[in-house]
Amino acid sequence: MVKGVSINSENVVRGALLLFAMTAVLILSLIFVFLLREGLPLFAKVSPIDFIFGTRWEPSKGVFGAFNFIAGSILVTAGGLIIAIPLGLSCAIFLSEVAPRWARNMVRPAIELLAGIPSIVYAAIAVAVLIPFVQYDLGNLIRGEVFRVGEGIFAVSLTLAIMVLPIIISVSLDSMESVPRAFKEGSFALGSTQWQTIRRITLPTALPGIVAGSILGMGRLVGETIVVILVYGNAKHITSTLFGAKSTGETLTAAILLEMSYVPVGSTWHSALFSLGIILLITVFILSLISNYLLSKSRVKL
């Protein structure tokens, strides 16, 4: 293609659009640079080992051990996924393999709606319904008396599970629906039942997509803030029971949001909070790379 040397409008537009296309990369890089710039000064005062494995977080004494927050983030994420993966997977299998048309048409929009509800609304329902239920009803049922608090790992896992269900369902569903029909028909032709076909053919073929969906959900849970603050109890110890006062805890996200407003800019405490952000960002970044890799390996195509 021969073009004049003079600036033509197509090249101007091309340049401008390239700039737009690079904006996301630019914002991402700035996020990294700013977090490192604000967070790294901490390690002049506190060693990275003490920061990650220390269990005491006492800003007034200059002691910054983030282990309890890290443990809290891991526990709520695991709790949410343990409930959401079986439920989400079975719902996806149902929708792709078993459901009659009318049921599919009913559940699909419901899942889209579930995906769109802001997390603050889930938190409100958890505070109004779930926490009293755990504290009084479950307390009486399990221990014969009410628990001291209703907040904690049980309530927060359940709330997070409902929040993350739509992601797991929709990604698993996409990858199950892209399993070639011929695979399943071959299995049926050999006399397999529907369940045998699902277990031996559909699920193994769709596995990378299912795992990718779960990792995507994992990233979402690690980063969730509002639900965790309102339902996990914000206690600076490690969760050790399923119910009651010892089941509370605090996550990385909660610590950042709750403490940032009190912190003098430029202090060690300020740096420590940004360092919590760095841990969070790196975790989520790794999860996202794994999930995208698996999605590109699976049969799911845009």
Binding site: L17, L30, V98, I117, P118, L280
Partner: protein
């Protein structure tokens, strides 16, 4: 010989699949029912169009509704031109290579960044480095950064779905690339792009954590310029839930929850209608 009857296993498995799917529907219906039940009695003209008093604990929530809508608009004003431009670049102006891979990985990773980290970013960039005060503009921009990947992805899908013969027809008639993009590609991709815009708007208005330091909670304020502080429904709701022990405040929080839910319901309905329109168009 199978020790377990496969037919029986099949029946058990299929039944439990039905049960789990139905329980998810029940949970969802309960959530929606509950928000309506608690929120509906609160909502009235005074609540929707009145001014708050006593730290949002009494009166109406008009400034928060207006603030939330304005925040969504500012976020879109940033993210839509840039996101759509980026997707035009990716689908029309370049071949797949290292650069597009970088752009896509960047957008995917940005999409995965937790909302609280966007809050830290907005705080650092605007308040610490640029010495600005919390206001509509910076909170809206922070939300715009957050929804950019969503807009990019949905517009790219829409633009790639434009049939190649349509474009070739335009080129055959002597149209330039820019003319083809403006007259053929963008109009046919519009419903898909609008879907992404609504998705992004829904996500922006529902977020709490990224704007919590960039929003003014009290006093209530209707911003007359982008540099004035504004309020947001989610942040007011957060304070009502976290600060207040009084059940009356929770009740007010559910009033706000119902407004947010209705916003999401309406936008879902619009996207659904547009999607149906889009698929019908492609089939024809």
């Amino acid at each position: 010989m199978n020790p377990i009857d496969p037919e029986k296993t099949n029946r058990i498995a299929i039944t439990s699949l039905w049960i789990s799917a139905l329980s998810i529907i029940l949970i969802l219906l309960y959530i929606i029912f509950y928000v309506f039940q608690r929120g509906f009695p609160v909502i009235g003209i005074d609540f929707l169009l009145g001014w708050p008093s006593n730290n949002w604990l009494e009166g109406g929530i008009l400034p928060a509704i207006v603030g939330t809508l304005l925040l969504g608009v500012v976020a879109l004003l940033f993210a839509v031109p840039i996101g759509v431009g980026a997707s035009i670049y990716l689908s029309e102006f370049t071949k797949e290579g290292k650069l597009t891979k970088l752009i896509r990985t960047g957008a995917d990773s940005l999409n995965a960044v937790p909302s609280i980290v966007f809050g830290l970013f907005g705080l650092t960039l605007f308040l610490f480095y640029l010495n600005m005060k919390p206001c509509l503009l910076i909170a809206g921009l922070t939300l715009g950064f957050m929804i950019l990947p969503t807009i990019m992805r949905t517009s790219e899908i829409a633009i790639r779905a434009v049939p190649v013969p349509d474009k070739e027809g335009s080129y055959a008639l002597g149209a330039t690339k820019l003319q083809t993009i403006r007259r053929i590609v963008l109009p046919s991709a519009l419903p898909g792009i609008v879907t992404g815009v609504i998705l992004g708007f829904g996500r922006a208005v529902g977020e709490t954590a990224p704007i919590i330091w960039l929003i003014s909670f009290w006093p209530a304020n209707l911003p007359s310029s982008p540099l004035e502080p504004c309020n947001a429904l989610t942040v007011v709701m957060y304070f009502l839930i976290s600060e207040a022990q009084n059940p009356l405040f929770i009740q007010r929080a559910f009033g706000i929850a119902l407004i947010l839910l209705l916003m999401i319901l309406i936008s879902n309905y619009i996207t659904r209608t547009l999607n149906n329109y889009l698929t019908r168009n492609i089939r024809r």
